[in-house]
């Protein structure tokens, strides 16, 4: 059986590494991107990466129910992040308007 050869490969391992990679990609993007809108995207990637890590920390394997506390934490994190995103985007819109008014 093909799957028997990789016994350690479990969902938490796979998604945990993927989450860390997403966080690192977001981090680099947030530090290096010039475009304002794209920096918001990068920060959002970081937050999803952190969410992956917490969800993985809650995982207990198929028969056992997961730990509910990290799930609650990630939901809180998602709401906090949409708030921060909305403020950042409002600043971007306002700044663009102010800059255009100055040019003309």
């Amino acid at each position: 059986m093909m799957f028997g050869t990789m016994p350690q490969l479990t969902p938490d391992l796979i998604y945990g590494v993927a989450g860390i990679a997403v966080f690192a990609i977001g981090l680099v993007g947030a530090l290096c991107t010039q475009d304002r809108l794209r920096r918001v995207l990068a920060l959002k990637l970081c937050s999803v990466g952190a969410g992956f890590l917490l969800v993985v920390a809650a995982w207990r394997g198929p028969p056992a129910a997961p730990d509910p506390v990290p799930h609650a934490l990630v939901i809180t994190g998602i709401v906090v992040m949409v708030s921060a995103t909305a403020v950042a985007l409002a600043l971007i819109r306002r700044l663009q308007t102010l800059e255009t008014e100055d040019d003309t």
Binding site: I20, C32, H71, T76, V79
Partner: protein
Amino acid sequence: MTDPVIIFDLLLAAAVVALAVASLSVRDLFVAIVLFITFGLLSALSWVRLAAPDVALAEAAIGTGVTGALLLKTLRHLRYVSGTLDRAEALSVTPAAPVPAPVIWANAAFCGLVTLGLAVAFLGAPRSGPGFDALVAEAMPASGVDHPVTAVLLNFRAYDTLMEVVVLLAAVIAVWQIERGLSDAPAPVLGAVWEGFARLTLPAIVVVGTYLLWKGAEAPGGAFQGGAVLAAVGLLLLLSRLYVPQPSHRGVARWAFVLGTGAFAGVALLVAGGGRVAFEYPPEHAKTLILLIEGLVTISIAVTLAALFHGREPVALRSDRGRA
């Protein structure tokens, strides 16, 4: 015996990482946002695989749904203000010099190093390690609800959740403060098809949102997911201009924004006044109190998210350019 779905997991994880890279590196900003929305969708699926349906719901509705709409709206606004709305490509609004290859490689190397370092730390940590499973299971009967995530959010760690609602309130106050009477980019008017669509969709969304809120006591769902789904109604009304915020609606909107915070903190304070610690709900009334808080918080979340999408405070505009 490994689960045969592991191939699916591997593919999904690879797609998530690839989409993260793509949404940051693709030239066209509109494509970047579409890729980002897809990224959010696949992240939500990953969390379903990790047995976290609550988190998946919240990410799909708030993290991807509302955030995606906000990003699209902002992009449209930027293109309108800079006069590039009719161009085929939505290029970066703040143009920068092309990035030289060594910089890209340096970034990739830094990214790889961070990933490697954190991955080593991750692999060294206990898998399915210590947690609150036992403590939560033990405290569940006194919590007033049957779904552990709801119990954590509204009872065991209610203080965190109150502050999360406060963050939403701070955001909407800040957004109203930042944007002053800006005019919106005019959008096409939706035609007759839309009316039939709206008649079918809007009631369905309201029903599903309320259902999620109610279901939250014993199954995945609850105030945040329900609120986000109800916020979708607000988004649709705003997008189709079936509802246009008027200056005279500001007072009601302010009350709606603070309703959740006020109810949550008010209940905490009332129980504290009754000789208990703040947030300590008497077990016999816990279910009622939690449902009351959740209901009011849901209204606040729905209205606040819709207001965050709308942006500016509805003040009387000097020119009526924005009201096409």
